[in-house]
Symmetry: C2
């Protein structure tokens, strides 16, 4: 691991601890307790907190302060005021958690972060309602930063339109499962809506709250979008290239479950018979050799390389956008996070 990689990991861990401390403050378990326990269940089960980490680092880079030197609850704006950036950083994680709870219902997934999904641990009604509660709590919390009203309006507006787009992305994702033909462009649009938009918001909202100019807001927003798309592509790649032990689930499970990814879509466009790539009915019965052979075919078709290049291009583009920020350590960590997301092995 390079020195920068280590610094990036340390930066993520340090901010994750702060975020983990803030979650019970922003989302206390009050009456009715069962509802709030269910709402907190996934958040308490873990998570890297990449979005709030990106949020806090953008704030630190913009304010040009020593990393971790400032109180996130009373953070200096660009014009000498102070705002509670942590309340808004948690709001982004809260939205992420709400979407996971509802997505797990839609996909009927039993497990998430190594624990039962909320509708399995509790029940369908509680899971729907826990997600709905997180949804509105995020909007309550993002309005409690103490920022100037104009900036709060910009921030909450960005959060609302991001949520709409996430729903649109999830709708496309569900539709793609039944679709005969999906292009890589359509897939990337879906990924932008479903995944990247919340990274975009995580980078843009701190800039809005601190009073950055429009050009800066737009640039960091673009950084988040680029990195978010690359993140999803890397997820698709890891499913094929990381050994099952490291992945925590069967390698190649996307192939077995006929999930469309940028890799399979590219291969299909190259004439590969993707549906017959793995001859197995379930992830329980597939052999490591069958996955290996399928990955070989995808490599031969140039699809693995295509996905890698697309992810790297996005990362380069995202890092380039950070030039609007002051040249400081936080900016270098944001560049490092971008690299980290496509270099990570699980």
């Amino acid at each position: 691991m390079t020195e920068l990689q280590q610094q990036v990991e340390d930066a993520i861990v340090a901010r994750r601890e702060r975020v983990n401390d803030a979650i019970p403050e922003e989302l206390p378990v009050t009456r009715p307790e069962k509802l709030y326990e269910a709402a907190r269940y996934l958040l308490d089960a873990g998570g890297k907190r990449l979005r709030p980490t990106m949020f806090l680092l953008v704030a630190e880079a913009l304010a040009d302060v020593e990393p971790l030197s400032e109180d996130y609850r009373s953070f200096p704006t660009l014009d000498g005021d102070d705002v509670d950036v942590m309340a808004a950083a948690v709001a982004v994680e809260t939205i992420q958690s709400f979407t996971l709870i509802h997505d797990d219902i839609m996909d009927d997934d039993d497990l998430r972060r190594g624990v039962p999904s909320v509708h399995r641990e509790y029940d369908l009604s509680t899971a729907i309602l826990a997600g709905d509660t997180l949804y509105s709590k995020a909007f309550e919390n993002i309005l409690e930063t103490g920022a100037e009203a104009e900036r709060s309006v910009a921030a909450v507006s960005e959060l609302a339109s991001s949520c709409t787009k996430i729903c649109e992305g999830q709708s496309f994702d569900i539709a793609f499962e039944q679709a005969d033909e999906v292009t890589t462009e359509e897939y990337l649009e879906m990924v932008e809506l479903k995944t990247a938009v919340l990274y975009g918001a995580s980078a843009a909202i701190p800039a809005m709250l601190l009073g950055a100019d429009d050009e800066t807001v737009e640039a960091v927003h673009g950084y988040g979008l680029d990195v978010g798309r690359a993140f999803q592509i890397q997820d698709d790649l890891l499913d094929l290239t990381t050994p099952s032990e490291k992945l925590g689930k069967q390698r190649g499970s996307d192939l077995v479950e006929n999930k469309q990814t940028i890799i399979t879509l590219h291969a299909r466009q190259q004439g590969v018979d993707v549906d017959s790539l793995v001859d197995a009915d379930s992830v329980e019965t597939v052999s490591e050799e069958a996955v290996e052979a399928a990955v070989g075919e995808l490599e031969d078709a140039g699809s693995i390389e295509f996905a890698r290049e697309t992810a790297h291009d996005l990362i380069d583009s995202g890092k380039g956008r950070l030039k609007v920020l002051p040249d400081n350590e936080s900016r270098r960590l944001l560049e490092g996070i971008a690299d980290y997301l496509v270099e990570r092995e699980y």
Copy 2:
């Protein structure tokens, strides 16, 4: 029907038409079409639009303008500016529709407004996602009124905290179904959260957007809360006192389904064996005589009268709060709507 009752009905119809025209403008069916069609499905199926009507009437009373004389899209504030009150009025109806879609899933109800519920017409995933989409669209729309930023923040904050309370109320409602003992006070708290809070927001948000002072905002908010609670109690009463033909469903169905209402909870406190009141397994098999006898017992216990009095006290309290408004026709219509809600027979 008295002249005022007729005026109230006319006022509701006139504003409903404007709201119905605005809904497709605020919630256009765009890509992905299936998602937005599902999101619009219940809204297009009908509804009295009582909440947006209350919203628009509060705006008209406060601005002290001739009813229906102003363009709701460019409505005069108290300090000579103008705002799009319709965008925010629709947002309240949008939230109502989102809660109905998700509630129908939780209660596994097949019908709503005479048509299949969204999860029946479409499927579970689409219904969850349609509700989630309406949720964020409401927040987008309420931010598009053109109001001063401070006022927008107050309005969106009221909407967010209302949504949280609605979720809490729904959680209590579900818990009460399993609970051995619920007091009328606990029931009224649940009704306030689940139902009344959105009426409170419907009355308070127009006052916020127009720039009314805190005292006025608080007073009209209280009016909405009172009227909303009375509305739910009246719903409970109608189930027992309105003939099945008029009700559009079996009279006494709450009793058959052992649903807790303020009437049964009061009767229980008076020592009535509520669980044995109606000897029928389903609303399909219950006889009109059995319901009649049960209602007789509830009358003897004073429970019907208790509910009627509670509703009327709330209506009187709500109407009293309207004294902060200018003395004009819109204010009289708001008083009339309060009476209408407890005088209505279905």
